[in-house]
């Protein structure tokens, strides 16, 4: 018995060492990610001719000018408004149509529901690139290019498959007794839906967050479907700033714009990351 214990403690030592190395690796990865972020933020406060000289030097002066440049160039008031309109609108509308659809697909037991679910899921696999050409032509036919409504509609279209996919997972996991209880009390289908809706709220919030973050960072559709300055979204704005700053070699300004765009995301993320992550995983694991 005692030898057993001895051998196993040796093994255990090995295991612990292995685990130690593993943890070290995990922490270096985490540190690396954080370092990238910190570096970007630091760089945003540096001066153009020093930013690449001493990489980890602290900013020698806090160059608020960088942020002013970035702010002006990003045309932040306008692009933010556009992004809020299209991303917010697109997300809200997506949820407005995807929630009832997901509900009906999982809870109404009609013939063809299951193939329809698959059909929606199919859309997740369609790359934007595969549709953007005819989409562009089609939207211009109905005068919806260079138009925030058109962009919002497109955002809805590209978000619906994933939103439906995530939310069918949520609705499926709801107990049917509640529905039956509502039916017994005389509620009609619409009423039953609204009874069930609050129950799916965590799922809806999570889906909405995931959709919104995706759209917030989107720029290909925005770039191709709109071109007016006053219709630019923040993603395109950043891309343009990227261009301008690089041509003028205003790297620090560029980092400042990145920081500006990142700030709301960091705040949102530290606040809601659990929601986002859990929402994502319910859809994927259910």
């Amino acid at each position: 018995m005692s030898t057993d214990v001895h051998v196993s403690s040796l093994q255990r030592g090995g295991r612990l060492a292995g685990r130690g190395i593993g943890r070290l690796f995990v922490w270096s990865w985490v540190l690396f990610s954080l370092a990238m972020l910190v570096w970007l933020i630091l760089a945003a406060f540096k001066r153009n001719n020093s930013v690449f000289r001493d990489l980890w030097a602290l900013p020698d002066s806090n160059e608020i000018q960088n942020f002013r440049d970035a702010w002006d160039l990003l045309n932040l008031a306008r692009t933010t408004l556009n992004s809020v309109l299209t991303v917010g609108g697109g997300t809200a509308l997506t949820m407005a149509v995807a929630a009832p659809a997901a509900y009906a697909l999982t809870r109404m037991y009609f013939r063809g529901a299951s193939p329809l679910i698959s059909f929606f899921a199919l859309g997740i696999g369609v790359p934007v690139h595969a549709i953007i050409i005819p989409l562009f032509v089609g939207l211009s036919e109905v005068n919806l290019t260079n138009n925030l409504w058109g962009l919002t509609l497109t955002y809805m279209g590209v978000s619906i498959p994933f939103a439906v996919f995530l939310m069918t997972g949520f609705f499926r996991s709801l107990p049917s007794e509640l529905e039956e209880a509502a039916v017994m009390e005389g509620a009609g289908p619409l009423r039953v839906f609204f009874v069930m809706l609050p129950l799916a709220r965590p799922g809806m919030v999570a889906s909405a967050l995931i959709v919104a973050v995706g759209l917030w960072n989107e720029f290909l559709l925005a770039l191709v479907l709109t071109y007016d300055v006053d219709k630019r979204t923040i993603g395109v704005g950043l891309l343009n700033t990227f261009g301008a700053m690089r041509y003028t070699s205003n790297w620090v300004g560029l980092f400042a714009s990145v920081v500006i765009m990142l700030t709301p995301l960091i705040i949102l993320y530290t606040w809601m990351s659990r929601r986002i992550i859990e929402g994502l995983t319910v859809g994927a694991t259910k």
């Binding site: 039956e180 017994m184 009390e185 009423r191």
Partner: protein, 368 residues
């Protein structure tokens, strides 16, 4: 309040296999409390759901208050259902949960409030009206579910194992409370349970289902004393009734090597039979005075009584729902009479209390 009648109700979920319910006939009087029992999967829930309108019968007729309501949707049947896990809306307060049905029906806000408050005080829920279900104990939730059911004065109550989620102690209390409530409201009630005690104590009549077929409909006492067939006999009562294989020939009841006098009640019987003896009707004596020989396998001291597990040399008829049970014969005796484990004993059947069943059909040979 209303009577409920099922005429030859059959329900099939698929084309293959036996139906979930088969030719069920059941007449429930206005105000009656009916308990539905049976092994798992026998169709209890299905029957309830058909009455509720959550399921449609494949064939047969369903009448509530005398009129056929097969085509009437669940919401319009004026029936209330208490679900096993209560199905309370987690996002609504107690008051809103109770008042949900009224709201759906468009009752005015003021009226709703007074009604809900009345019901809540009836159930002792008044202090909790603004809480949500998540903040209530199991027993309180159960009462909210009851409240939602009674608030709109339905024609009938359906309850599907409403106590099975509660712990033993609370179950005893809620059992008494539901009985009392039902008596006060005098509401027609169908109550599904798989709990022996609930079955025996709550209902006016008990319906025993097995594999979708009604086995017996009777008062609890009659069910216990006069089971209509071997299934009911074994299903009702715990520990289960011991069932021995025997036969009657020439006026003697032959069980294993024992030749017993056939009790008067059965004198007309003849041929292969099953002999049923409840554990409390089995006595244990010393070698030489009993009917059958047995070997004590296990003695379980339950405090006020002792359960003696025996191996006997007579074939037993084991309830086929649990076909893999080890063949055991159980006697319940007074602690003072407990034999020693491992000893060989004599077994005496209380012939005045034994049941005889036809070995083929399983039907009782006892005439009550």
């Amino acid at each position: 309040m209303a009577s409920i009648s099922l005429h030859a109700v059959t329900k099939r979920f698929d084309d293959i296999g036996p139906p979930a319910l088969s030719e069920v006939d059941l007449e429930i009087e206005d105000g009656e409390f009916i308990v539905l029992v049976g092994p798992s999967g026998c169709g209890k829930t299905t029957l309830l759901r058909i009455v509720a309108g959550l399921e449609t019968a494949t064939t047969g007729e369903l009448l509530i208050g005398g009129s056929d309501i097969s085509g009437v949707p669940a919401g319009d049947r004026n029936i209330a259902m208490v679900f096993q896990n209560y199905a309370l809306f987690p996002h609504l307060t107690v008051a809103e949960n109770i008042g949900f049905g009224l709201k759906i029906r468009g009752t005015s806000k003021a009226e709703r409030r007074t009604t809900v408050e009345r019901v809540a005080s009836l159930l002792g829920l008044s202090p909790y009206l603004e809480r949500r279900p998540g903040e209530l104990s199991g027993g309180q939730r159960q009462r909210v579910a009851m409240g939602r059911a009674i608030v709109r004065q339905p024609a009938a109550f359906l309850m599907d194992e409403p106590l099975s989620n509660l712990d033993a102690k609370l179950r005893v209390e809620m059992r008494a409370e539901i009985s009392r409530m039902q008596r006060r409201l005098n509401a027609t009630t169908i109550y599904v349970t798989h709990d022996q005690t609930e079955a025996m104590t709550m209902g006016d009549r008990v319906v025993v289902l097995n594999k979708g077929v009604v086995q017996q409909i009777a008062s609890p006492a009659d069910l216990y004393r006069y089971p209509a067939n071997a299934f009911v006999a074994q299903f009702i009562g715990a520990p289960t009734m011991n069932m021995l294989v025997g036969s009657i020939a020439g006026g003697r009841l032959v069980v294993g090597t024992a030749q017993l006098k056939v009790p008067e009640r059965f004198e007309s019987a003849d041929g292969p039979v099953l002999v049923g003896a409840r554990p409390e009707h089995v006595h244990i004596g010393d070698r030489g005075i009993g009917h059958l020989g047995g070997h004590v396998v296990l003695v379980e001291h339950l405090g006020k009584e002792v359960q003696v597990h025996l191996e006997i040399d007579v074939p037993l008829d084991i309830d086929d729902a649990h076909g893999d049970a080890s063949e055991a014969f159980v006697a319940t005796v007074d602690p003072s009479e407990a034999p020693v484990e491992g000893s060989d004993v004599d077994i005496v059947l209380d012939l005045d209390q034994v049941h005889l069943f036809d070995r083929d059909s399983g039907l009782t040979l006892t005439r009550p």
